[in-house]
């Protein structure tokens, strides 16, 4: 390579490598962007504070609950009720029923998604079974609680929020540290 080409070639090669890195940097950037804006319907993965805001009884919001096990997940997984009408600021408890029809222990992880995505920022979970992995022995069932409230600051164009949970089988990746959080069923 002629000497005079070296600096430019080097710079361009470094640019290409940097762009390869940028492709991977998009992954955390995307998460940060979505956390800040709530764009993709991801809700917070940690508990919100229990001191709810002022209850706004002049507004009614319909909350729809969807729950489905992922294709590889053998559990039965259902919300107790399909829909519920709430006032913004009110704290509600909602139970999900999980049943393990197999004969072996399975660990599940629920991943929430809120639609419309922009409402995700205003849906606060005080306690949720989705914060931790849930362990269930074969043939058992259990109730998994969710405690939530809707932020009174929810923009006025939203009157219905759909909360969807997909339950994944994470037995192979189970670390054992979250077993305490699961609650025995009746």
């Amino acid at each position: 390579m002629a000497l005079k080409h070296k600096p430019l070639t080097f710079k361009l090669a470094v640019t290409a490598l940097a762009m390869f890195g940028f492709g991977f940097a998009l992954v955390p950037l995307y998460d940060v962007f979505c956390d800040l804006t709530g764009l993709n319907g991801k809700t917070a993965v940690t508990a919100a504070s229990a001191e709810a805001a002022q209850i706004d009884i002049s507004r009614e919001i319909v909350i729809e609950f969807i729950a489905r096990p992922n294709k590889q997940m053998p559990w039965l997984f259902e919300p107790e009720v399909r829909r519920m009408t709430v006032h913004p600021g009110e704290i509600h408890i909602m139970n999900y029923l999980a049943q393990n029809p197999t004969s072996r222990m399975i660990v599940g992880q629920a991943v929430p998604s809120v639609s419309p995505g922009q409402a995700a920022l205003y849906f606060h979970k005080i306690e949720c079974f989705c914060f931790t992995q849930q362990k269930l022995a074969g043939g058992k069932d259990m109730l998994m609680p969710l405690q939530f409230y809707v932020d009174p600051a929810l923009p006025s164009q939203f009157s219905t929020i759909t909360l969807s949970y997909t339950l994944y089988d994470v037995t192979s990746a189970w670390t054992g540290d979250s077993a305490e959080s699961s609650q025995p069923g009746e």
Partner: protein, 529 residues
């Protein structure tokens, strides 16, 4: 061909010692040899990808399942797309860049000739890997050329690893080619060849090369993430592990949208070279062409999510991407206006390169307009994933990019071979292509608007007549390209001697060297007035 060169150019004869036979092509670092190999490779790939398109059109000739299994049909749509984008259009442009850029700027060769040899010779292996994967148990990639997760991660076959590696190699080849183009243009311009004297083909390729360096690595990152998600337990795109499949689409289209400009900017350069020659007038608005090309390239980084309107996006995001997308129509409109203004009151003749360039201007503009329709977010919800999209991108890629490459081949063929091509045969090729390509792609707009989805091997009965027309157009277009091959072979073997200038109105350094261009040109830099 080499014998002809040495016979005509005794001054250069002593430079022309090169290994004979196949070794010449393996070892060559000559930009003209490498350019020729790129172009021949692209032509072969054009026919392999075209054969897959024929399978697709044969299956869709009638409703119901006729010839192939749905899984094989999906492999055909996937590999057709990959081959045409990465194997035909991009290498053809790189081949043209190799041949023409050093001659246009008065350089003796590309700046990095050994890397040039590398960047070509890894390409056949990339496509060998991709094509071999079709014969694996379970077949080749069948998730569409866009390889959306989870189709390419959770639901793909074992051939995915081969697909990923072949895309890696294609990417490395493109990046090396792009680095070479940039270094050549920056460092090897002849004295006096200032930036704003460079031919537009050089300008558009310079900008394209920067786009390649910016986005091909991102594509490499995307396929790497697919690879590790599928085989090594990462979850970039798997919600179960905290990833997000929509993220895949963001990364892919961050590459994908600049990619479509990579495939069209050199075409703008070609048309900007051909139109002034046959209108016998200098290009109208040279500087505005340069600025328009640059602004298209910059805007291309701000519009990727217009491929993703239906994934659910806040209104503000949809508006941003919609308006940015529509903004691209402005510099593109400047270009079309300039081409038309160049022809205005010109002394025009209509040789084959000019015919293809004219068809490009009209038909590319149709593709641009359907792109504007797709940019309208609320309308896009109806058009998304229908044949309307297929019609749109085939108008910009076939009657756009491919027509420009064919035009360039006709335009510079006398310079490459030293012979004039058969004008009558060329006109036959043009008119057969023009009629059949519109029969092929225009009705796709209608079936798309009526709701026919893309990438489906079967369709509802009401689309039967239109699809029969489309398939006939497809077969005719495929057959028309055989005329082109015949013409190329004929022209390489002999024909009327071409002069150095070839075309009466042609201007530029490449027309000052004899035809065929000697093996080595501009070893002493030319003087630029």
């Amino acid at each position: 061909m080499s014998a002809v060169v040495t016979d005509h150019d005794h001054d250069h004869e002593h430079h022309d010692h090169k290994p004979s036979g196949i070794k010449r092509w393996f070892y060559t670092t000559n930009h003209k040899d490498i350019g020729t190999m790129y172009l021949v490779f692209a032509l072969i790939m054009f026919f392999i990808g075209g054969a897959m398109a024929m399978v697709i059109r044969a299956e869709l000739f009638q409703p119901g399942m006729q010839f192939v299994e749905p899984n094989f049909f999906n492999q055909m749509t996937t590999v057709h797309g990959l081959i045409m984008v990465f194997g035909a259009v991009m290498p053809a442009f790189t081949g043209l860049a190799n041949w023409m850029i050093p001659m246009m700027i008065g350089a003796p060769d590309m700046a990095l000739p050994r890397m040039n040899n590398w960047s070509f010779w890894i390409l056949p292996f990339a496509f060998l890997i991709l094509l071999i994967s079709l014969f694996m148990p379970g077949g080749g990639p069948s998730f569409g050329w866009t390889f959306y997760a989870p189709l390419s991660t959770t639901y793909s076959g074992d051939s995915t690893a081969l697909f990923v590696f072949s895309v890696h190699i294609m990417g490395i080849s493109s990046i090396m080619g792009a680095i070479n183009v940039i270094v050549t243009i920056f460092n090897l311009r002849a004295p006096g060849m200032t930036w704003m004297k460079m031919p537009l083909f050089v300008w558009t390729w310079l900008i394209t090369a920067f786009l390649l360096i910016m986005v091909m690595p991102v594509l490499a990152g995307a396929v790497t993430m697919v690879l590790t998600d599928k085989y090594f337990g990462t979850s970039f795109f798997d919600a179960a592990g905290g990833g997000d499949p929509v993220l895949f689409q963001h990364i892919f289209w961050f590459f994908g949208h600049p990619e479509v400009y990579i495939m069209i900017l050199p075409a703008f350069g070609i048309v900007s070279s051909i139109v002034p020659t046959f209108a016998r007038k200098p290009l109208f608005g040279y500087a505005s062409m340069v600025y328009a090309t640059s602004s298209i390239a910059l805007l291309s980084f701000l519009v990727w999510a217009h491929h993703m309107f239906t994934t659910g996006m806040p209104v503000a995001g949809a508006l941003f991407f919609m308006y940015c997308t529509m903004l691209i129509a402005v510099p593109t409109g400047v270009k079309v206006f300039n081409w038309v203004a160049t022809m205005w009151r010109g002394a025009m003749t209509f040789e084959v390169p000019m015919m293809f360039a004219l068809a490009f201007i009209v038909l590319f503009t149709i593709g641009g307009f359907s792109g504007l329709m797709l940019a309208i977010t609320p309308a896009d919800f109806q058009y998304h994933d229908t044949y309307f999209v297929v019609a749109h991108f085939h108008y910009v890629l076939v009657t756009g990019a491919v027509f420009s490459i064919i035009a360039a081949a006709y335009y510079w063929l006398p310079k490459w071979t030293g012979h004039m091509y058969d004008e009558k045969l060329g006109q036959w090729h043009f008119w057969c292509s023009l009629i059949s390509v519109n029969l092929l792609f225009f009705p796709m707009h209608f079936v798309g608007l009526a709701g026919m989805p893309r990438r489906i091997p079967d369709y509802a009965l009401q689309f039967a007549d239109f699809n029969a027309f489309i398939s006939i157009g497809g077969f005719l277009f495929g057959a028309s390209q055989l005329i082109f091959v015949w013409l190329l072979v004929k022209c390489a073997r002999g024909g009327e001697k071409a002069t150095a200038q070839v075309w009466e109105g042609a201007e530029g350094l490449e027309w000052e060297v004899p035809s065929p261009a000697p093996y080595h040109t501009f070893e002493t830099p030319p003087v630029i007035k």
